[in-house]
Symmetry: C2
DNA sequence: TTTGAAGCATGGTCAGACCACAATCGTCAC
DNA sequence: GTGACGATTGTGGTCTGACCATGCTTCAAA
């Protein structure tokens, strides 16, 4: 007896949910910051169990598309786009990303971003950059405060580039890098010189000199890279890893 | 009576699972391709319900860290790193990423990648690139086949760059771009000229001329960009979007 | 030897109950 | 009136146990 399939109960429920919400977002029904219906109600509407709905929402939340607030509700993510913060560091652990590789990516992206910012930056960006440069000079004696304005400066450059994708990529890499660096003591890498360089970059962006902005940013980041010892190491051979046997590794998975 | 907290039952179970697996990956106990214990068994080991375990695993799977195979088991992702394929396109719908922005990001990343490949590419990469160039010339009459080798060529350049992070970023952007382009008919954008350019790029990489490789790749991609009409549009003002009211939008969320 | 049908291991879904958190509302003391 | 504080309500988080769906393995029949 051939099995009749009046509808299509297949296609994992999870993806059913994901695609449904996806289409709602794509046709503009759902916009950043909007709240979706309560789980129980939504599940009833989609004719699936609450558990399955939750799986789908969890999937979207993991990708940063949805934000869940316990006791409040579930919302479409607003604010700047994020490519799962945990994602990069986890992927790093998994695929052995090296710090110098992250820094290399950052240098490439951010120096180009500076050039784009010089081309497209608007008055408001120029003003904000000037503000941060001033703050940096004002906090030369306070490493923690200085760092904040340093980060803000770079973030504004990202926004001024007019390309949110590149800005989001930079943001992801920077935060992953920051996590690694947070533990190391704040070496007082001559903040005055650093501030001067930021000022030069600002001037190039304001003067709409993409080539120069790019060059200065590249130079600035390479110095930072050197200061943190994140240059690309020379070729190594024979990693000589001391791996446990596969059997021994897998036996330890359940340990807590 | 004050509540005693001998342990910390808090910290959402989901993150408990994620962090547990994360640490297993970071200390090398779990490696790409490894299979984790069956859900029922693993849940018992972690002293949580199977449902919660599944939530955590789903989270990791959404980020591309785990691969779930129904009826078989759950595995740590192997193969090349992926930043959630669906992520970029969903984020695009959410934050209004434009095609030209994706292409701009691609141009910046990939032209630099070509330079790095020229610096660091090994014999094997050179051989593989030559192979693909030859295949491209051999399939000038077959758009579909040509496209395959086109993609492969670029992927090999990514690998040759020696920076898996940049390679993964490119891969994500390219696949998102490809999804958008798939529907458009394969315009026969002079494949012969395209193949010639790839050959030039290959020669520059093989000759270890980073500057030239970068320039050629940039040139090649800008032509492709123009051919697909993905240049950055001139400044627009007054988007004049025809948005429904918030109330009307949210009322339609449950529709199926 | 081939092939098809069980059987089994594993992930997927469901239902319903209860827990935990956050905002709101109502009561009561001041 | 007004503030504090507890109850109520709405919402996500977790648990349990059952059953469904898939895909590999095994084994018997052809």
């Amino acid at each position: 007896m051939p099995r009749i399939k009046p509808e299509e109960p297949n296609t994992h429920r999870t993806m059913h949910v994901v695609n449904h919400i996806r289409s709602l977002i794509e046709n503009g029904t759902l916009q950043p910051g909007d709240k979706i219906p309560p789980e129980r109600e939504f599940a009833r509407a989609l004719k699936i169990s609450r558990a399955s709905l939750r799986t789908g929402i969890g999937y979207l939340a993991a990708m940063g598309v949805m934000k869940i607030r316990h006791g409040v509700g579930t919302f479409v993510a607003d604010g700047p786009p994020e490519f799962g913060k945990t994602s990069l560091s986890l992927m790093g652990a998994l695929h052995g990303f090296q710090s110098w590789q992250m820094f290399e990516a950052r240098i490439i992206l951010e120096s180009h971003l500076a050039a784009l910012a010089a081309e497209r930056g608007k008055e408001e960006h120029h003003a904000a950059l000037a503000e941060e440069v001033a703050e940096m000079f004002a906090t030369l004696d306070s490493p923690a405060d200085y760092l904040i304005h340093d980060l803000l400066f770079h973030r504004i450059v990202s926004q001024a580039s007019g390309n949110p994708i590149l800005a989001a990529l930079i943001e992801t890499i920077t935060s992953a890098l920051y996590d690694k660096r947070r533990k190391t003591v704040e070496r007082s890498t001559d903040r005055r010189e650093s501030a001067e360089m930021h000022r030069e970059i600002y001037k190039a962006i304001r003067a709409r000199k993409p080539i120069e902005a790019r060059k200065l940013m590249d130079q600035h980041l390479r110095m930072a890279q050197a200061a943190q010892g994140m240059e690309r190491p020379p070729e190594r051979r024979a990693p000589a890893s001391t791996q446990k046997s596969k059997q021994a590794r897998l036996a330890a998975v359940g340990s807590n």
